[in-house]
Symmetry: C2
Subunit: 449 residues, 2 copies
C-alpha cells in the first residue's frame, strides 16, 4: 500500500475514476440515512446508490420523485453531489488546494488536465479559477432570473430554494427537479422566463469552459480556435435542426404540443431540442412523443454536449469530426478538412473510435436491459440505456419500475457514460502503455467493405 502511493503507481485517469467512485459511495451512504427520506425510513442501499450515481454523474434518472421523496437534508446532499459532479471531482480537489494556499503540484495539474481534457499544462490553475467564478456567476444569474417566477409563485424561502436548485441542476446538465410528482418542468411548458433561462443555462453548461472563456476574450468568430468554431457550429446546427424537426414531427400530436398555442409550440420544440444534450428536463410527456421524435431524441442524446463541459454523450466535436470525415471521404479527399483547417489522423481516428465505441456501449447496455427487464418494449429500454450512457436523464417512464439487475445496469451505464469510454479504456491499459514494445509488425493489405 505504502509502496503503491510512494511509487505513484496510479495514473491520473485511475485517480479520477477512484475519486468519482468515492464521492458516489459517500453520497449513497448519506442518502441511505433514515432522515434523508421523508418517510423516516432508509431507502435501501441500491436505490441510494442509484440516486447518488445519477447526481454525481449529472444524469437525472430517478427511482423516486426527488421533490416529494427526499427531506431538505436529502435534497441538499443531492444538490452538493450534482455540483461536485458538474464541476468535476478533480477540479474541486485542485480548487481546495488553491483555497488552502497550497501550491498545486505537477501531478495535481496533470490530473486536472485529464479531468478537463485540456491540451496544455500551462494556465491550468488560472483556468480553474475561471471555472469556479464563472460557475457561481452564471448559476447566480440563473437563480435570480428563475426567482422572478418561483418567489411570487411559491413564497420567498421555497421560491429561492427552487430557483437555486434548478439553476444549479440546469447549468450542471443534471436534470434533477424538485417540482414534485415526477413531472419535471411540464407545468412550465408555456412559461417563457423559466424555459429560456433553463435553456440558456443548459446551453452554457454544455458548451464547456474553454469555449466560454474564449468567447469572453475574443468576440470575433474568425479569430477563435478551430475547437471553439466546431463547438459553436455544431451546437447551433444541432439545436436549430432539432427545433425544426421536433416542431414538424409533433405539430399535430395532441398528447404533446398539438393542443398548445403557437408560442408554446415554439417554446416546447426549442426546449425539446435543447434538453436531450444532455440536460434531462422535459416540458412535455416523453412517452407520448411519436416514434420519430423518440429516435431523434436518442440521436441527440448520443451526440450530447461539448468536451470539457458538464454535458455527456460522444460530444459535439467528436460528431463534427465524424461528419466532416464522411464528407471528406465522399469528396474523395484524404484529409478531414473543416473551416480551412486540416485535422490530424490521430484526432480523426479517436473521433471515429469514440463514435463506434459509443454505439457499441449502447448496444451492450440495451442488450443487457432486454435480458434483465424483458417486460418493457424495445424502445423503452433503448431510450433508457442511451439516456444513462449520455448522462441525460430523460426516460419513457420505466426507471422506477426497473428490476434490481436493471438498476445495477443503469448505474454502470451512468458511471461509464460520465467518465468516458476512452478514459476508462486508457486507465485499464496503463500497464500495457508503460511496457509499450518497440516491435512493429509488418503491414499487410486487406479488403475492407
Amino acid at each position: 500500500m505504502v509502496e503503491k502511493f510512494k511509487g505513484n503507481k496510479l495514473d491520473p485517469t485511475q485517480v479520477l475514476i477512484l475519486g468519482f467512485a468515492s464521492v458516489i459511495f459517500i453520497g449513497a451512504i448519506l442518502l441511505n440515512l433514515p432522515f434523508a427520506s421523508i418517510t423516516g425510513k432508509s431507502i435501501g442501499f441500491l436505490d441510494a446508490l442509484f440516486t447518488s450515481t445519477s447526481a454525481v454523474c449529472v444524469t437525472g434518472l430517478v427511482v423516486v420523485d426527488t421533490g416529494t421523496y427526499w427531506t431538505a437534508f436529502g435534497k441538499t446532499v443531492i444538490l452538493i453531489l450534482i455540483q461536485i459532479g458538474g464541476l468535476g471531482f478533480m477540479t474541486m480537489a485542485t480548487l481546495f488546494a488553491i483555497v488552502l494556499g497550497k501550491r498545486t503540484s505537477l501531478k495535481e495539474r496533470l490530473i486536472m488536465q485529464e479531468a478537463l481534457n485540456q491540451n496544455t499544462l500551462s494556465g491550468l490553475v488560472r483556468f480553474t479559477q475561471y471555472i469556479l467564478i464563472g460557475t457561481l456567476v452564471i448559476e447566480g444569474i440563473g437563480a435570480i432570473l428563475l426567482s422572478t417566477r418561483f418567489i411570487p409563485q411559491l413564497g420567498l424561502s421555497k421560491g429561492l430554494a427552487f430557483s437555486i436548485f434548478h439553476s444549479i441542476s440546469a447549468f450542471c446538465n443534471a436534470g434533477f427537479d424538485i417540482v414534485g410528482g415526477g413531472v419535471s418542468l411540464i407545468p412550465y411548458v408555456s412559461d417563457p422566463v423559466v424555459n429560456i433561462t433553463i435553456m440558456l443555462l443548459i446551453i452554457f453548461g454544455g458548451l464547456g469552459f474553454p469555449v466560454i472563456v474564449e468567447l469572453i476574450r475574443t468576440r470575433n468568430f474568425k479569430k477563435i480556435s478551430l475547437h471553439a468554431k466546431i463547438v459553436l457550429f455544431m451546437t447551433a446546427l444541432l439545436i436549430s435542426m432539432g427545433f425544426f424537426a421536433f416542431m414538424a414531427l409533433e405539430w399535430n400530436n395532441p398528447n404533446t404540443i398539438g393542443e398548445l398555442d403557437f408560442g408554446s409550440k415554439v417554446l416546447a420544440s426549442a426546449f425539446q431540442s435543447v434538453t436531450p444534450r444532455t440536460a434531462g428536463f422535459n416540458t412535455i410527456e416523453m412517452s407520448q412523443l411519436t416514434n420519430a421524435s423518440k429516435l431523434l431524441t436518442i440521436i441527440l442524446m448520443y451526440i450530447g454536449g461539448s468536451p470539457a463541459s458538464t454535458a455527456g454523450g460522444i460530444k459535439t466535436v467528436t460528431f463534427g469530426v465524424i461528419l466532416f470525415t464522411i464528407i471528406s471521404v465522399i469528396k474523395g479527399k484524404e484529409d478531414t478538412e473543416l473551416f480551412g483547417r486540416r485535422l490530424s489522423r490521430f484526432a480523426v481516428n479517436r473521433a471515429l473510435t469514440l463514435g463506434v465505441v459509443g454505439m457499441g456501449l449502447i448496444i451492450f447496455i440495451t442488450m443487457a436491459l432486454t435480458i434483465s427487464d424483458g417486460g418493457f418494449t424495445f424502445m423503452e429500454v433503448l431510450f433508457e440505456g442511451v439516456s444513462a450512457l449520455g448522462t441525460v436523464g430523460l426516460s419513457l417512464g420505466i426507471t422506477s419500475k426497473l428490476s434490481e439487475l436493471g438498476k445495477v445496469i443503469i448505474i454502470i451505464a451512468m458511471f461509464i457514460g460520465r467518465l468516458g469510454p476512452l478514459t476508462i479504456a486508457f486507465a485499464l491499459a496503463t500497464q500495457q502503455r508503460k511496457n509499450k514494445g518497440t516491435i512493429r509488425y509488418p503491414e499487410e493489405k486487406i479488403i475492407v467493405g
Copy 2:
C-alpha cells in the same frame, strides 16, 4: 451524349450502379406482366419493382408470397435476377465477353476489379472463370443434396425445381423461398439435411470467392493471407457466439425453440445464427423471438458476410478491423495489429468510416420508416430497415403491410445496401477526385471526446 461515351466520362462505380439499376428495371417490367402473376392480372409497378430490387439485391424481402403468387414464368424471372445479382452484374458482363471470345479490355477488367473489390488487376479473367465454375459446382452439389429430401416429398419435377431454386437462393444469400404461405423454411426446422445443406450454402456464399479459392489452393491456416485469416476467424467467431447466444436466449421461449427436442433446438439455434449474415431464410417465427434475440439478429445483420461475396452488411473484415482497432486503442497501441500483422491507416480509417456510415444509414432509414409507417412498433421498423440495408430479408412480418412510401424507402435501402455506401459515395465524388486540389490546409489541434 456521344461526347460522354467517347470521353469515357463514366467511371467503373457509375457503370456498376447504372448496370444494377437497369437489370432491376428490366426485372420489374417482366414481373409486372400479367402472366407473371397467378391471378393473371398485373401486380402493379411498385410491387414489381420491389420484388425485382429484392431479387437483384439478393435481399429476400417480399410483398407477396413467392411460392403461391408468381407463375412458373415469374419464379424463373426471380431466380435469374437472383443469379445475376449474386454473381454480380459486372462479373456477368465480363463472363459474356469471355464466352463470346472477345478479349477483355483494360476498362472491363477495371470494372471487374471494382465489382469484386480485388486489389490487383492480374489474373482477374481466370478469377472470373473460377467464380462461374465454382458457383455452378457448389449450387449443383447443394441442389443434389436438397433433392434427396424434396423429390421424395414433392415428386420429381416439383422436387427438382424446389432443390434448384433453394440451392441458388441460399448460395446467393438471397433468402427467397417457394415453400408457399410465407413461412420460409419453418416446416423444415427439424430436418438436418435441409438445415445443414442450406447453412453450408449460405456460409460458402458469404465467405467470398477470394477466400474460397485461397482455401482450395492453400490448406494451411498459417500460410493463407491476412484477409482470409480475418474472414475465417470472424466468421467462426460470429457463428459460434450467435449460436450459443440464441440457444441461451430462446431455450425457454415456447413460441420459438422452447417446445422442440434437444437436437432441433441445436439445429434451429445454429440456423438462426447463420441466417442473419445475410441469407434471410428462417426456421422459426421471427416475430416471436425475445427482444434480446431480435437485437442480436439486428447486430448480425448489420455485420453481414465477407467482402467480394454474395452477402451484404458492413462485412466481417470491416467489423474485425473495428474490433481489433478498439482493442489496440485500449492496449494503448498506435497501430491496429492482428495475427502478427499491422494494418495501414487507410484500411483502419475506411473500416471505421464504413462502420459509422452503416450506423448512420440505419438511423436515416429507420427514421424515414417511423414517419412513413407510424403504426408499427419501433422494433418492427428498425428490424425491417436493417434487414433491407444488410440485404438480409428477415422481417417481423410488416413488409407486405408497408405504405407505398414505406415500400419506396425499403427499395432505396436495398439498393444502397447492395452497392455499398462507399461505392455510391465514391461514384458521387468522381468529379471532385478528378479535380483533386493540391492545396493542403494547415493542421490544427482540437479536443475530441
